[in-house]
Symmetry: C2
Subunit: 382 residues, 2 copies
């Protein structure tokens, strides 16, 4: 079985989300939680970024995690030196290779990129550390520029090459195709993919990279990152759970909700309603047709079992789309046994109430109990 | 050019999000805003769902929108009758065809599904209305069951067939392949796709459906819906903007932020940070490398132009990842002209402050002004 590494870059890419800030304690705790889930790599920012960052990197390196700690570092002598002075297992070098980044970011030609990167890669290898080289904005880079750069960095000793979709422009087909091309050209070299979400396809692109031959996939908790972020850990896990479950054998999926909740709390965010697995409603069923079937067998509308993540499903009864089956079920759970006619009447009454506004579970229960006391007994003279 | 219809089902699928409720006024306003953006179809719930729903459907039909109004209706005589009594342009019939839904939802065999659906389709066509038939949970349905059902409903007069990924299990490749198979088998019949987001690929699957030959794609505002929702209108628009811009010729993209904001407000939600185009940070640039390049040319890190959506980009200066270029730029915007050395010192000071906690734009500006007054003048004796 081909290896698959998940690299979590919440501490680096994630903190580039607008307004985001993690304290030292939060950074350490996030690393611990990610390690408990089971990711292979934890990416940290360049230690040269700030004094507090350098301290955080050192402290995380000292945790003796199973995950390898890798620093995201510019191809600059001072940056590499600062990273090597910490205990990181490896350095993730990057350099923009697209015309856009060469023109408006660093202003270097491909030859200069190579002559900057190659001695640093040799230096990192000589120091006994792991090194990856990413061609930033790979999917807008000219193929000749990209391969010329990769040829040189692989020759210099880069153990993995990175294909980031830095601006979120790629399609799954493009990702799979470019990854496959590189996997064939560089046998024995790892391939990493990092996909931004500007056009909403970060998770799909990340899975496509795996299918093309990538052995390392970048994610962040909840998908936080620059602009509107990258692929989420929970999204990738949901995909692997369905399509490649054997890849999750070493993961503790029950720890996923904790890390999602923790990072959301650190950043004063809500977990988005659209997040796979840990969204507040990810296992909530609402429409009458759905609730009826799910109460009979959850597989009807669930492809992920919430219990595998330490979560519970929720059957929501308080909406105008509710149905008899779910209403009867809820009444029974409240200790009220109703016949078929009674359930029809209660459902109708509940739908009329829910037609005027949202109802919480407590409001639903109170409604059912009141209905039973005030109306049910009158109508059917029990 | 092949036609592409966008069907927005915020008013139907969207209100199935846990806790969601739209008032009559909100439903009408959402329909107006969607029409202003330019979607082809606005899907409403079955008028039989509730009295208020029937009123809302009638009112929306009376708006004389450009978009066609279609009701999402079970294959049941009473439901079809109720919908036909309103002014909807068409009926979107659905019936679960997967083993899971046949066993745990309605309990019907394929022959029964067909014998329920066919007379209703004929009745709807005889009434001069548009009719679509969706095989609910198509991607877990047996191919023979699926095609047997479609053969019959197409023969009966269904003008479009729907392939919903009801449980969010499909991959882009599967979607493209099944859609293509149906497009080849049913020439002249429209094909609709509706993709849930349980494994994070709703937008990618929806685009794959278009590439396979679908002519109608379902979305909701922000992607709200049962569990963790479906493809978002903004995600699909971002994809079309990049890959099929000619498809957006008739859309008013500047109205998109308004509809996203409005629906979020109706449901007391925040627009998720991961939403394409309208996320709070979708056009915010933060890391020093990014801000420098974007200030020189936004194309460096932007594939969508915020102005096309009536939005503005934001260069965030107040983080430990900030850079000299952005700091100097901000100082200049505040009327402070600094030389290169001064900018280096100010950047260092700002990074040290941001290393202790998040900073708002106001805090950054105050910091720069204070630094200039208290330190800048002392150090360089201007």
């Amino acid at each position: 079985m081909r290896t698959l590494h998940v690299l979590d870059t919440t501490l680096r890419e994630g903190e580039q989300l607008t307004g985001a800030y993690f304290t030292l304690e939060q950074r350490v705790q996030i690393a611990r939680l990610l390690d408990a889930v089971g990711v292979s790599f934890i990416e940290v920012p360049s230690p040269i970024a700030s004094a507090e960052t350098r301290r955080a990197v050192q402290e995380i390196c000292g945790l003796q995690l199973r995950a390898r700690v890798v620093a995201h570092v510019r191809c600059a002598e001072a940056d590499v030196q600062a990273a090597l002075e910490t205990g990181v297992d490896g350095l993730n070098l990057f350099y923009g290779t697209s015309p856009e980044l060469r023109s408006f970011s660093h202003g270097k030609r491909i030859e200069q990129i190579i002559s900057d990167a190659v001695p640093l890669i040799r230096q990192i290898r000589a120091a006994g550390r792991y090194v990856r080289f990413s061609a930033e904005d790979a999917f807008r880079s000219d193929l000749v520029d990209l391969l010329t750069t990769f040829d040189a960095v692989v020759e210099a000793g880069a153990q993995r090459i990175g294909l980031p979709d830095t601006v979120g422009v790629a399609t799954p087909r493009q990702v799979e195709s470019l990854v496959r091309l590189c996997a064939e050209r560089y046998p024995g070299v790892g391939i990493e993919f990092h996909g931004h979400n500007d056009t909403g396809c970060a998770v799909a692109n990340t899975v496509a990279a795996f299918e093309g031959g990538a052995d390392c996939l970048d994610v962040t908790v909840l998908g936080i990152g620059e602009r509107n972020g990258i692929a989420s850990l929970s999204g990738l896990i949901a995909q692997l759970y369905i399509h490649y479950p054997e890849r999750l054998a070493t993961y503790d999926l029950t720890r996923l909700p904790e890390v999602d909740r923790y990072v959301a709390e650190c950043l004063h965010l809500s977990i988005p309603f659209n997040n796979p697995i840990t969204a507040p409603g990810a296992f909530t069923h609402r429409a009458g047709i759905h609730t009826k079937a799910v109460l009979r067998n959850p597989r009807a509308y669930e492809i992920l079992d919430p219990q595998d993540f330490g979560l519970a499903r929720n059957v929501e009864v308080g909406s105008r789309y509710t149905g008899r089956y779910a209403v009867g079920h809820r009444a029974a759970a409240l200790g009220i046994e109703l016949n078929a006619d009674e359930i029809v009447h209660l459902t109708q009454a509940l739908k009329e109430r829910a037609d005027t506004g949202a109802m919480s579970q407590d409001e639903v229960d109170t409604f059912i109990l009141n209905w039973y006391q005030e109306k049910g007994n009158l109508v059917w003279e029990r």
